[in-house]
């Protein structure tokens, strides 16, 4: 019985996903994902390129200088961003993109006056 509860708990936890571990920071001190996503979107346009660049940022910061201005970062977030391995990062980023996708909110009809 205890094992079963543990399994269910584990399953739910893993469905909740990789993003949960990011949320600890990103829901509080760090910039929220909807802001980050909009920043990436306006620069990289396609989901393929957003994913590629976010993953690079999380796995190998030398490849990717990030979307926030360096000076601002030094002042507000002096700590280095935690690193992740490629697999973890990819999953988290995919979830992030899925959740923040702006186009899902777009309607192609005129708003009712």
């Amino acid at each position: 019985m205890g094992r079963l509860i543990f399994l269910i708990f584990f399953a739910v936890f893993s469905i909740g996903g990789e993003l949960d571990r990011c949320d600890s920071c990103h829901l509080q001190k760090a910039p929220p994902f909807n802001v980050i996503y909009r920043k990436y979107l306006v620069i990289y346009s396609s989901k393929r390129r957003i994913e590629e660049n976010m993953v690079n940022f999380l796995t190998d910061p030398s490849k990717q200088k990030g979307v926030f201005p360096k000076e601002a970062k030094k002042i507000f977030f002096p700590k280095e961003h935690p690193l992740y391995d490629r697999k973890e990062a990819k999953e988290a980023v995919r979830e992030l993109i899925e959740r923040e996708d702006l186009l899902k909110k777009v309607r192609v009809t005129k708003p009712r006056e």
């Binding site: 909009r38 306006v42 702006l102 777009v106 009809t109 005129k110």
Partner: protein
Amino acid sequence: MFPSEKRSLTRFLIIYMFSTLFLISIGIAIFYRYDYHRLSDYQNEKLKTQTQNLIPKLRELHKSFDEVLYYPVQKGLNSAIYDIDKNYLVGDLKPSPYFKDKMDKNEEFWRDGDYIYYLTKVYPHYLGAAYLISRAKFDPSPINELREKLALFFLLSAIFVFFIAYLLGKLFLFPMKSALSMLDDFIKDTAHELNTPVSVILANTELLKEFYPNLQTSEELSRIEIASKRLSRIYDDLTFLKLNHKRHRNVKEIDLSSLAKERAAYFEIMAKARRIELKAKIKEGVFLRMDFEDAAKLMDNLISNALKYTKPQGEVEIILDEKFLIVKDNGIGIESRYKKFVLRRFFRANDSEGGFGLGLSIVKEIVDYYGFRLDIESEPDKGTKVEILWGD
């Protein structure tokens, strides 16, 4: 108006009108192209501004944290956005497979069916948009209006050019016309002056034969008679052609058989004098609706032509049947290079024979008037066969 004058005038008109209108058309075509571009550029520019106005709205959407974002839908305009990998994102313009090609080539404007399309790049990529494609209905009315205007202009200038050409033609042809009418008057007067003495000669030879019966067989007298008959026929021909159009034709059933016999007999003396055998195969009772004088002219001209161009010991044959008249000789024939001229007035292939070259042109006029068919078969040194067919 003389036929030759008419011909020259129409040729002049055709060449003049054709060349002038050709130049005018080139001018019109250049103007059309230029104005067409101006008009479509105007519509392109309009579409471009409308489309550029969408971009700030995309920016607003991008910045907004509302639950629902409304894509900017505008009246008379459809648009859609594409990401940097040329994937369709969203919009009220359905994606078309060939749009990718346009994005590859970075084409700004194009036409497809009734629409004009505009493609622009978007940066920063609000909502992820890297390309924005829009379309609006192409309004053909200014271009149709332009076409109508140009067609009207062409028509008016054609009329104008025609009048100018006609006046010019008349002006240039005036000297020719007066020369021709002088010639015509001259012929008429001369012919008229000839007629009285010829009739006097003919009447007096008849009288001589009656008063002195031994002169009946005089060869000298019959030569005088033949010569004056020929003169009198030339007179007839000239007046026929000259007054042709004013003459009243009395068309009724006439007895061609007896007319043919009479004409054959009339030419018998001439044929004998030239030692030509004149044969006549004439079917009895052939009737035809025709003016009597026309019929006589027709036969006279055919027979006298045949006699004129046949050498002594030759043979001339007249055949009349229900549906045709044939006059055939074994004379000098017509060389093929002259064939197309023989029906023209004043044409003579051979100056050694007398005459004005009116014979066959008279035949042609009569045949055309009645809608008969005229066939001329001829071979040099073998002879000529002229066939006139009526009935179908």
